[in-house]
């Protein structure tokens, strides 16, 4: 990405200088098949001689214990949750993503703040407020958005690990069972992500297909944008 660009205020106290790495974000809602693609992309990039750093929406060292404990309880308020996740994201950005970019790595980020933003907004946060908090976020080199129909998601869930509480948005009391809640919640999340796809210029990939077909599209976009399908960058 060479010169760092930010969505807003950035990190004014940090002298970033050159960032020779690339930041490639894979976005998409729960169960859309992101982790499979991230794994395939990692191998594909490594075969082309790039060092790859994986980072995802797993917790940062700073917030893991506290955030897990907070989600166990029943007193985690909406604003508190937004800010806790922003802390988590900032910690990973400053301590994992940026150092890797400085060292010339290709950073494959399994989600970015867009997903967190979508979850916050669906839960009632002011979209403008949440977006401006993430003014400290780096603008990625590219965002690949895996978009699938609700029915395709359900298909993947029932043949995979099953419905879970958070992916179904059960905390929002939209329905009295996991299936109905999952459908209502994921539809709202995807509505937000679709909105952001236009706003932030995501490359949207049809994820209603086989892993190989999706992979071909993703690598096609990467080759075109990063300008490097070959080996010598």
């Amino acid at each position: 990405m060479s010169q760092a660009r930010f969505y807003g205020e950035g990190l004014p106290y940090m002298r970033l200088g050159e960032l020779p790495g690339k930041l490639i974000v894979i976005e998409g809602t729960d169960c859309v098949g992101r982790s499979t693609q991230v794994e395939m992309l990692r191998r594909w990039l490594e075969e082309r001689g790039h060092a790859v750093s994986n980072t995802g929406l797993t917790r940062s060292a700073l917030t893991q214990a506290g955030l897990d404990a907070a989600k166990e309880g029943h007193t985690l308020g909406r604003t508190t949750q937004s800010l806790f996740y922003a802390t988590d994201f900032a910690d990973r950005l400053e301590n994992q993503i940026i150092p890797a970019l400085k060292a010339g790595f290709y950073v494959l980020s399994d989600r970015y703040f867009y997903s967190v933003c979508a979850r916050d907004v669906v839960r009632g946060a002011d979209p403008e407020w949440v977006r401006s908090i993430y003014g400290f976020a780096l603008v990625p080199d590219m965002v690949l958005y895996m978009n699938a129909d609700l029915d395709h998601l359900v298909q993947r869930v029932v043949n995979g690990r099953g419905f879970n509480y958070w992916e179904s948005g059960m905390d929002m009391s939209m329905a009295d069972n996991l299936y109905d809640s999952f459908c209502a919640y994921q539809a709202r999340i995807m509505e937000q992500l679709n909105r952001m796809a236009a706003e932030y210029g995501f490359f949207t990939v049809d994820a209603n297909r086989t892993a190989d077909a999706i992979f071909r599209d993703l690598t096609g976009h990467i080759s075109r944008v990063i300008g490097d399908g070959g080996g010598d960058s």
Partner: protein, 235 residues
């Protein structure tokens, strides 16, 4: 920050370390309790939910200016959502030792922008009274340095890299914070208190100002017994 329409009232104190604000709000708190009001006291950095994360981050020096700022906002949001707002709605007087302005002063002194941190706390209601205890920098620094054996890493702004000497760093960092407070006085309409006056004089003035706010607050709740509520331990 927007003004609120709750029946309760929100009184807060601000000032640099050693300005005497905690002494004064404690006296005001006791006076309000003695008057029979329902009063809730909230301390900066005291959310049970967030405390362990803040403590670990400070111990291991894990914070950047951004995460230092967002974790304190998280702590604040938890206290606001679970305590402060519900109690203001219930007609309680809420008192806070430090409020969002502490973040506006400190986090900017640390390196985030004024605009970003003000937006971060946009959800906070504007206090009905914000007392700013102003003392010359040397007075407050002397109070802290003579009273305490050790100053903590983040308290001294050691992460900002102003000086390798912790006392010198503390002095410089507090100076920056004070500049931010001074600049905010007009912006937020602080009630400026002269922190060099005798304790009794300051308290008398503080009570008189509080009384005028209470006179125009008909919806305040009273306690059956003389007991206040606190969180976050001693005040």
């Amino acid at each position: 920050m927007k003004s609120h329409n709750y029946p309760g009232r929100l009184f807060i104190v601000e000032g640099i370390d050693g300005s005497g604000k905690s002494t004064q709000i404690d006296l005001l708190y006791k006076w309000l309790i003695a008057q029979g009001y329902s009063v809730f006291f909230s301390e900066w950095n005291s959310s049970e939910m967030v405390k362990s994360t803040t403590r670990m981050g400070k111990r291991k020096h894990m914070f950047t200016p951004t995460t230092f700022s967002t974790i304190h906002a998280t702590d604040f949001a938890d206290r606001l959502e679970n305590r402060i707002i519900p109690l203001l709605k219930a007609g309680v007087i809420v008192m806070a030792d430090r409020y969002a302005f502490t973040a506006f002063a400190r986090d900017v002194a640390r390196g985030v922008t004024r605009r970003w941190v003000r937006n971060l706390y946009d959800f906070a209601p504007m206090p009905d009274l914000a007392y700013y205890f102003r003392v010359p920098l040397e007075v407050s620094v002397e109070r802290i340095l003579s009273a305490r054996a050790q100053i903590k890493y983040y308290e001294a702004g050691m992460d900002v890299g102003l000086s390798d000497d912790i006392k010198e760093s503390f002095r410089l960092f507090q100076g920056r914070i004070m500049d931010e407070y001074d600049a905010m006085t007009q912006e937020f309409g602080f009630t400026v208190m002269d922190g060099t006056l005798p304790i009794e004089d300051q308290q008398r003035e503080m009570r008189a100002i509080a009384q005028s706010v209470l006179n125009s607050a008909p919806g305040l709740r009273r306690t059956p017994r003389n007991s206040g509520m606190t969180e976050g331990g001693a005040i």
